[in-house]
């Protein structure tokens, strides 16, 4: 086998925590090599080291058998590697050809003027070579995301890249667009281009890859060849543990027989999710599982009234509820802990005191326009005590707290109200283990007091640990409900990847 890129014994730590331990990966010429692993397994860190965004602590990288140092994206490109970014780096106001040759446009002699004729011709040759449905003069902004991705691939190929790194390339593609991409990948492989394909979608990996490297907790778990890529095997390597109640990889669900608190009927938001119906009982924790982009976040944002939906009905304790605005939802007893904590959860420059007060000013008495700062402070102190924010300083800027304590502030402000429904989206992403347990405790206590908790989580362990019932979404639809009996992480992963329907 002709090895293009080999990384050996790669180690990397962030502030003392080892995220990669002696990781090894090799990509042969003309192969599609997939890289898989759960969130936090170290996939992105490895890619960032290979593309020069991070420096490795130790280990070595070989390109065509020669040891190389990659300390910037430029180094990476000069070797002949191109990275297709998850966040598209195509410029909408430029044409396909302008995008491909951006920064290295062919010039007319020495005049400094761009030779558009030549540039468009070169682009056309590239397009013909790979039979892409593009025209050199198309405006990138007028094209769909799938075609824009093809521009990016062409950009890589135009610098004679022999290895393409694709990081979750189908994350924002429609089914049809993904199909075009898969065919493109197959064509490229046949032409001898190597591809390192990072994905968490099993069915894609199964379809495309010649070999698969699985990482778990920063360690090489397995390298499988095509014949060995079998669902059960892959899942076992990714999750790593034996199925066991004690470590949270399996759970026995129990039925909640309380009155129905929240009922959703045929909720649809065009292009985001379709025909969603479910009920939640009082005091129940309903978990939503699924892959990133399955429409879970979009769904809960609509429930809360942060976004608008196209059609459908929501009932709260039998009463029709139209979440026209977040203000209205809050009045009705909804609370929301958003996925993007830093961006949407709290106001970093304001104190704990103000952050807690800001959603609760309707509960604080006012004289004319002036709010009672005494009551404001009392409210803050009571929530600090209730949720144990450290340091217990009402004047501390929330931006300066640790991630866990920031999240406690976000949850804490809702505890001051009479909640009926609390929606939490990835509540413990990026939070240390201790604070995680405390947040779990808080949510469970809330549920016991009769609050409905709607949990969106990509952390399977968390989903199993907290949920009384689990709905799995895929491509904007609910595809599976786990309501009674035992359920394992593997079950959820299977449903989320769509492998329930078409078993490997």
């Amino acid at each position: 086998m002709n090895i293009m890129l080999e990384a050996k014994d790669i180690n990397k730590s962030f502030s003392g925590v080892k995220v990669l331990k002696d990781v090894h990966i090799e990509i042969a010429k003309g192969e599609v090599h997939a890289l898989m692993g759960e969130n936090g397994a170290g996939k992105s860190t490895l890619i960032k080291i290979l593309t020069g965004a991070y420096t490795k602590d130790s280990g070595s990288i070989f390109w065509k058998g020669k040891e190389v140092e990659i300390s910037s994206l430029r180094d990476c490109q000069n070797l002949g590697m191109a990275c297709i970014y998850q966040e598209l780096s195509v410029i909408p106001v430029l044409t396909v050809a302008q995008n491909i040759y951006l920064g290295r446009e062919p010039k007319i002699g020495k005049t400094g003027f761009i030779d558009y004729k030549k540039m468009n011709r070169m682009t056309q040759e590239l397009i013909d070579n790979y039979e892409f449905p593009l025209k050199p003069t198309d405006m990138a902004g007028d094209l769909g995301i799938g075609l824009r991705q093809l521009i990016e691939i062409l950009k890589g190929l135009s610098c004679d890249a022999e290895l393409l790194i694709m990081d979750e390339p189908t994350a924002s593609l429609s089914g049809k667009e993904a199909e075009i991409l898969f065919r493109t990948i197959e064509t490229l492989r046949d032409k001898g281009v190597s591809i390192l394909y990072i994905s968490h979608r099993l069915e894609e990996v199964y379809r495309l890859s010649d070999r698969l490297t699985i990482l778990r907790d920063g360690v090489n778990e397995a390298v499988l060849i095509k014949a060995e890529i079998k669902l059960q095997k892959v899942i076992r390597f990714m999750i790593g543990k034996e199925v066991d109640e004690s470590n949270g990889s399996v759970k026995t669900l129990t039925k909640n027989t309380n009155e129905t608190a929240l009922k959703v009927e045929n909720l649809t938001s065009r292009g985001k999710f379709n025909d969603i119906s479910f009920e939640v009982k009082k005091g129940e924790i309903l978990g939503f599982g699924g892959l990133i982009g399955a429409g879970r976040t979009e769904l809960v944002r609509c429930l809360y009234g942060a976004d608008k939906y196209t059609s459908g009905t929501i009932y709260l304790y039998g009463e029709k509820h139209v979440p026209g605005s977040t203000k209205k939802s809050i009045k009705k007893g909804f609370g929301f802990v958003p996925e993007d904590r830093r961006g949407e959860g709290f106001i970093p420059l304001l104190s704990v005191n103000k952050n807690i007060a800001v959603t609760n000013y309707d509960l604080i008495s006012k004289k004319l326009m002036a709010i009672s700062s005494k009551e404001e402070l009392a409210m803050c102190l009571s929530s600090i005590e209730k949720i144990d924010i450290r340091p217990p300083d009402p004047d501390k800027q929330v931006g300066l707290l640790s991630g866990g304590n920031q999240q406690k502030v976000v949850i804490g402000k809702w505890l001051m109200r009479e909640l009926k429904v609390l929606i939490v989206d990835e509540p413990t992403a990026g939070i240390d283990v201790g604070a995680k347990d405390e947040i779990y405790g808080l949510l469970q206590a809330l549920a016991r007091s009769g609050v409905v908790i709607i949990l969106v989580s990509s952390d399977l362990q968390e989903l199993l640990r907290l949920s009384d019932r689990i709905l799995v979404m895929r491509k904007g639809r609910i595809v599976k409900e786990f309501s009674a009996g035992t359920v394992t992480q593997a079950d959820i992963l299977e449903a989320a990847s769509g492998l329930m329907e078409e078993r490997l």
Partner: protein
């Protein structure tokens, strides 16, 4: 592509509507004398507009153009008053001051990472203050400073009823458009304004691109100042006051997106013509200056509202097309 052409037709239509309205209500409006006078007014704003188009394309802004004009004019007046330098050298010095002032703005923005708005708001004050400091005083009083050298004031004139300033403006607009469309610097301006991250990943030097755009504004301001002072045959500490408003208005009406990435010099040309026609018409109708500003301000707001509505609409339409294509 379609969107930008549509947008240009819309601003042309607005201009045409304005011309028809004024022509219908005043016999004087369409006389050759008045039209030439409109073009003369367009030129000063337009010349600066060429440079500002570059900056706005990158997503930046320059509020200091009016003050920069004051500074360039006063430096030239000092050279004229106190040195025996020949006029061409005086002009070169003026242009150098403009470019330095532009680079100064650019360096504050790119090296010290001060937001464009604040950086140029500050230099707007600084440049004007410098103008006062170097102003030539008689008995402690600042007076307007004559610039009456014969080999200077001819620049304020013209050939065959066509003022030189108009010719220079046309040349600079053509050059500006060529730079935008046919050089990699031009492409880089669009790239930086449209998607900085992507531009960076493509190996474009973002800071250099933005710095050069600010320097271009400085150059354009100095050229405009030369013709403005040659026409007035003097300069004052107040020259150029409020100029930034007219220039920004022209660029915005011409279809440049303030968020960057959209627009070009031909748009700015139309925008400048629109603003100058409006000025001229309002003036002939003897509406007071205060109302002029209200009318101009309102027009800018309307254009910006229209632009954001229009882009959203276009985005929606293309999205729906994509969807129907995908479902076929």
């Amino acid at each position: 592509m379609k969107q930008s052409i549509m947008r240009k037709l819309i601003s042309l239509g607005m201009l045409l509507g304005l011309v028809i309205a004024f022509a219908g209500s005043s016999r004087y409006f369409l006389t050759s004398g008045n039209i030439i006078s409109i073009f003369r007014d367009v030129s000063i704003v337009g010349i600066i507009g060429v440079g500002l188009t570059f900056v706005i394309l990158t997503g930046g802004i320059d509020l200091s153009t009016g003050s920069m004009m004051g500074l360039v004019g006063m430096v030239m007046a000092n050279i004229y008053q106190y040195t025996l330098l020949p006029i061409p050298l005086m002009l070169l010095a003026g242009i150098a001051v403009g470019i330095i002032a532009g680079l100064f703005n650019g360096l504050i923005v790119t090296r010290l990472h001060v937001p464009e708005f604040i950086a140029t708001l500050s230099t707007m004050g600084i440049f004007r203050a410098l103008t006062y400091i170097i102003a030539i005083k008689k008995n402690g009083l600042i007076t307007s400073q004559p610039l009456k050298a014969v080999d200077f004031v001819w620049l304020g004139g013209g050939v065959g009823g066509f003022y030189y300033v108009i010719i220079v403006f046309i040349l600079m607009a053509v050059a500006g458009q060529i730079i935008l469309k046919y050089t990699s610097f031009g492409t880089n301006l669009y790239a930086v304004g449209s998607n900085v991250k992507a531009a960076k990943l493509s190996g474009i030097n973002i800071e250099k691109t933005r710095l050069l755009a600010y320097a271009a504004v400085g150059f354009c301001v100095s050229v405009a100042t030369i013709f403005q002072t040659a026409r007035m045959q003097n300069t004052t500490v107040l020259i150029g006051t409020g100029m930034e408003f007219n220039v920004i208005a022209a660029v915005v009406v011409g279809g440049c997106a303030l968020s960057g990435g959209r627009g070009d010099v031909t748009g700015t040309l139309i925008g400048a013509l629109f603003m100058a026609t409006l000025n001229n018409g309002i003036y002939k109708f003897q509406i007071s200056t205060s109302y002029q500003l209200i009318i101009k301000g309102t027009i800018i707001i309307c254009v910006v509202i229209f632009d954001s509505w229009y882009s959203k609409r276009m985005a929606r339409i293309t999205k729906e097309q994509k969807r129907s294509e995908a479902s076929v």
